[in-house]
């Protein structure tokens, strides 16, 4: 392993690490719950309320609930993924870089 165990121990005790992990875990869990809830709500409707899926949005319209909800689900999942990547690659990666710099400085002392 390239890094020594003491470095990991130092990171683990670092308050910024604890903050980073807590924030990212909170976001991940929230998004995951939303995705699972939305997906299984859709699948649940398919199994238990198929008439709704096939229903037209308005009289004479060719847009049906299932297709509109389905397209929205594709877009929504892409947007959620984009939001996570935006936060993770921006804010969280910045926190990680700062944290590593901090710990390395401590180590040098």
């Amino acid at each position: 392993m390239p890094s020594s165990s003491p470095l990991y121990a130092r990171i683990r005790r670092n308050t910024q690490f604890i903050e980073l992990v807590a924030r990212r875990n909170r976001l991940t869990l929230a998004l995951l719950l939303v995705i699972v809830a939305v997906f299984y709500a859709y699948m649940g409707l398919v199994s238990f309320w198929p008439e709704l899926i096939g229903q037209r949005l308005a009289e004479g319209s060719t847009l049906t609930v299932g297709v509109v909800a389905g397209v929205s689900l594709f877009v929504f999942f892409c947007a959620l993924s984009g939001f996570y990547v935006y936060r993770a690659n921006g804010e969280f990666d910045r926190m990680t870089r700062e944290l590593i710099a901090q710990v390395e400085q401590e180590e040098a002392r």
Partner: protein, 554 residues
Amino acid sequence: MNARCLLALGAALCSTSLLASPAMEAAARQPLNLHAIGMFMVFVLFTLAITWWAARRTRSTADFYSAGGGISGFQNGLALAGDYMSASTLLGITALIYTSGMDGYIYLIAFFAGWPVLLLLMTERLRNLGRFTFADITSYRLDQGKVRTMAAIGSLTVVCFYLVAQMVGAGQLIKLLFGLDYHIALLIVGALMMLYVTFGGMVATTWVQIIKAFLLMVGGTLVMLLAMNEFNFSYDTLVTRAMNIHGLGDRLLAPGSLLADPLTALSLSLGLVFGTAGLPHILMRFFTVSDAKEARKSVLYATGFIGYFFNVIFLLGLASIVIVSQDPQYFEGGQTGGKLLGGGNMVAMHLAQAVGGNMLLGFLSAVTFATILAVVSGLALAGASAIAHDLYARVIKKGTASEAQELRVTKFATLGLGLVAIGLGIVFENTNVAFMVALAFGIAASANFPVLFLSMFWRGLTTRGALAGGYLGLLSAMAFVVLSKLVWVDVFHFSEPLFPYTQPALFSMPLAFLAAYVFSKLDHSARAKAEREAFEDQYVRGQTGVGASGASAH
């Protein structure tokens, strides 16, 4: 169309079974398709040139397994999409929408939902902890020999079943599209796969995937635009006319019988979502980028490409209801409503011919062939890395093998896998290989995923727990599939299945988790204690990427 089979297999894969269904086998060989063969030759020459170029850059094991970590997020996103969208996605799901309407779209949604989950749960830690294979992570703090062997067996089982299913499907499809003999088609696919992987490793495989994903999306979009042009680009006109023509009428966009049983639907969606997170050839792609940041980006790109293309497929299916089902030239004996020429899977091809003539048909056929090649190459590479990196270098040689030795083993492993794939493809020519895909996904979700997930997220996992969970998941998934209709009735010809569901994940996945949990909890050995303590360091590395393998310098 066989709805039960679709249930069992899930979207893209299912059509592999359709490709191998008796209806297809009976279909006559098509006359030689010169447009298709010409365009395919161009693809092969181009990709062989890339392989030659890649071979000169593939010197170390890191080059071979992970392209030296030098693939960009965008490139890897395309390659992931390429790995995920097999020929059967395009052909099988278009056919499903053509026959059953909304059910096909629901499949596409279920097949898509695994991607955000993969992004949130796996991407970051996988990239930060692993180097070449997912077994690197499973065995990170556990017994190298035993746990890696278990993970490699899981990997190889998934790869072998998936590979054989792809080969049989490929042989049937190429016979239809190109008018080539089944055995010749297998030899061509197997030989090209061996060439790409043996010489070009991950670099060549990645580029084959990228080009194929690009061609597939361009081809699909082109057919979609030309087809939509016939409806003046109005979804309204398209749906109205499709509903007027289709036997389902107004019910065309309502769920049909496919997902009527909630338990089957649940088991299927679990298998698709978590099976994806346990497919060795998909997981391996995360190591081809330089760091977690690029890995996240690549999943985002892949999600976008796949989401886009799945909606294109929906339009293709609807358009083919209007365009193909009304045209006698696409039916045997010119009888509309009868048997489609070449079998049900050919809907997308007929649509291409109808809107773009023989050139577009040839192009789409060539793309389909390229797609098969790309998917089998990714599988062969994943299999070769399990043999050479996990079993040979880490388990047998315990890390003492030189890079040159390991590289030599990867090449022999690739050749071996290629020969096995061709051989089994010939053996299973006339078997319904539907069960193999169900097995591949079932095992990926039940053997690979639970242990990998727990090793990254649960401090308490020990070697004993990992082995119990991994092997029980593997065996139970196999047993459930063998006792289900797919093997018990369709292959062994018994009258009643012993296990009522065709998709094992709902049952075998919790079994694996439970076994891993119980056996870990009961493990009070000193080694178990050390393994739990080692989680702390692994956790830091997984979260921050400190100590993660970077891109190798060139």
